[in-house]
């Protein structure tokens, strides 16, 4: 498709801004998935992105680490603009962690190996240091005793906590969560959300696509509502849940909360 404009870094880049999307558009063939997305995320900010299925919310956060390519507009992550330059993409991915709906742990590696792989191969961390680092984060997600097991031997909730720890091992500046609890059995949702809440309390910049409205109320600085590839409204959770401005938001909240 058309090349992204201006590959020069954003002029006068504001160091307090983590992610900036402006007039970002994406198509799948003829299908217009994302329309003129304008969104700025400050460092330390916690965003919850919600909306009906097919609204483009997952696609949007997947554009941030270039798992999806946008065709028009700009995305600047941590002062670096996303272009076709592979080096820059890898640079951004090193600093942006992502947690997937289906965990996507590496099934042929032990939990410890899942956690040390990227620090060793991408950050060039010595093995011993990487292992200590991995154990530290496994303690944080409260499953250090599973280090020697394979992902297939863990419950869904444990696997998702490992996936969070795997991202944290890269010491990311930004964390993206793509429906992290949607594939979990109900009794396991809580343990994953608790991990995410503690992460939020430490000041991590987080973007979470989720339907967990309780989580949104508890930690979000801003809730972003999307529909048909557009950002319909964004507001502080108190405002968002009490006085949604838009009809479509009201309809969505009615469906999801009742």
């Amino acid at each position: 498709m058309s090349a992204s404009p201006a590959s020069i870094p954003a002029p006068f880049a504001d160091p307090t801004i983590a992610i900036e999307m402006s007039e970002m558009n994406k198509w799948y063939g003829a299908f217009h998935v994302l329309r003129d997305i304008d969104l700025t995320v400050r460092r330390g900010e916690r965003l919850v992105i919600c909306g009906p299925s097919g609204s483009g919310k997952s696609t949007m956060i997947r554009c941030i680490n270039r798992l999806e390519e946008h065709q028009r507009g700009r995305i600047v992550v941590d002062g670096v603009e996303l272009t076709n330059d592979l080096k820059r993409i890898e640079e951004i991915r090193r600093d942006v962690g992502m947690v997937f709906q289906h965990f996507n742990l590496f099934p042929h590696l032990t939990i410890l190996e899942n956690l040390t792989l990227a620090p060793i191969w991408v950050r060039r961390m010595p093995r011993r240091e990487a292992e200590e680092n991995a154990m530290f984060y496994l303690e944080r997600v409260r499953i250090p005793d599973q280090a020697g097991k394979y992902p297939g031997q863990l419950s869904g909730g444990q696997q998702q906590r490992v996936a969070i720890a795997r991202s944290l091992c890269m010491n990311p500046k930004i964390m993206l969560f793509d429906e992290p609890t949607s594939a979990l059995d109900p009794e396991m949702v809580k343990e994953v959300l608790e991990t995410m809440v503690s992460l939020a309390e430490e000041g991590m910049t987080m973007l979470c696509v989720t339907h967990e409205m309780g989580f949104a109320r508890q930690v979000a600085d801003r809730v972003v509502f999307m529909d048909h590839g557009q950002i319909i409204e964004e507001a502080h959770p108190d405002e968002f849940f009490k006085n949604p401005r838009h009809d479509r938001t009201r309809l969505f909240l009615n469906q999801i909360l009742n």
Partner: protein
């Protein structure tokens, strides 16, 4: 017989275990009329075939008598021929005085293969060890630097089979991986190149590739640039194996979910580390049975080099049979050679089985 097949009430069964086992066996063999009929039929076949086979194989066979006349008189197999000619069967037309050299080569290759199956020895050092060993083997077989020179045309038998198999598959495997990755590449030139190569090699019989390599290449390459006949056959076998392995590996690559690529990419892993660390280990594990199949076929395909004038095990066997002093005991010779091929293929099958079992618990 009939009494056994009668249904008996469970209480009436004698409690002695041995008899119960016998009863179960009887039920298994004669439980239904069809089973009974099949048991009788197969029993009769065994009675008819096994005793003559044993007579030929052992009882009437010449086992150790080195006199060719003993074989002429005997009704059974002539195993003494296999002993007497074992040197020629194993080493072909390699000069008699130098046979210790191919013998050492075979032992070295088999020992290193045995060493290589241990997961503990899978390090970069093993690869270096193999390369050094191959250089040593080439020197030992071909001579020079103090050893009498033996041209590849005089190489033969087991070392030829082993070298062709190990080198062809050893090189074809990484080449096959690259071809498989190339065929899935998003770069059109790379993808089309891989498709053309794989499909044209798969579309040709191995025999014709060997003929092209050994007969047609000399027609359009000057003598100075022409590689040795052995090397040409080796290249032909390698390309052939690589094309098949590539397709098997591609099948494995397709079994890996998109999520694995995304998770690896999201961690910042570049293309090659991603393939090496995440994708290939999983993809290859999925297709171990099919890979083993291809490798075993290739072990036996090496014998086709006889059509271009190289002496593998089978051609050595045929050459040995041509000795007019002996009655030519073809069946015995080919049983012996078959046993060697079986040992090689079966060992590999066991190794593949071991690889399949190790590793993580599957979902």
């Amino acid at each position: 017989m009939k009494a056994l097949s009668l249904p008996m009430p469970a209480e009436a069964l004698p409690r002695r275990v041995r008899f119960t086992a016998l009863l179960r066996l009887g039920k298994l063999l004669f439980g239904t009329p069809l089973n009974g009929l099949l048991t009788v039929l197969f029993g009769a076949m065994l009675v008819v075939t096994v005793p003559p086979m044993l007579r030929w194989l052992i009882i009437d066979a010449v086992l150790f008598d080195p006199d060719p006349d003993a074989c002429r008189e005997a009704v059974g197999a002539c195993w003494s021929f296999v002993y007497a000619k074992s040197g020629q069967l194993l080493f072909g037309i390699y000069p008699l005085a130098e046979r210790w050299r191919p013998a050492i080569v075979c032992l070295v290759i088999l020992a290193l293969l045995g060493w290589s199956v241990r997961p503990a020895s899978w390090t970069a050092r093993l690869l270096a060890l193999w390369i050094a060993t191959l250089a040593f083997i080439v020197w030992l077989m071909g001579g020079g630097f103090g050893l009498a020179e033996v041209p590849t045309a005089s190489w033969g038998g087991l070392p030829v089979t082993l070298i062709l198999t190990v080198v062809a598959i050893g090189i074809a495997f990484p080449v096959g991986i690259l071809l498989a990755l190339a065929r899935r590449s998003t770069m059109p030139a790379v993808r089309i190149g891989a498709v053309v190569l794989i499909e044209s090699v798969r579309g040709l019989p191995l025999l014709s590739i060997l003929f092209v390599a050994s007969i047609m290449m000399p027609l359009f390459l000057p003598e100075a640039l022409l590689p040795d006949k052995f090397v040409r056959a080796l290249v032909a076998l390698t390309i052939f194996a690589a094309a098949y392995l590539a397709e098997v590996i591609r099948g494995g690559l397709q079994a890996i979910s998109k999520g694995q690529y995304e998770a690896a990419a999201a961690l910042g892993l570049p293309f090659w580390p991603m393939q090496y660390l995440i994708i290939l280990p999983q993809a290859i594990r999925v297709v171990i049975p099919a890979l083993a199949n291809t490798v075993i076929v290739m072990i036996k395909n090496t014998s086709l080099v006889l059509v271009v004038g190289l002496f593998d095990l089978i051609s050595s066997g045929k050459a040995a049979l041509a000795d007019p002093e002996w009655p030519s005991p073809a069946a015995e010779t080919f049983l012996f050679i078959g046993a060697i091929f079986f040992a090689l293929s079966f060992s590999f099958a066991r190794f593949a089985d071991f690889l399949e079992r190790r590793g993580p618990v599957s979902h």
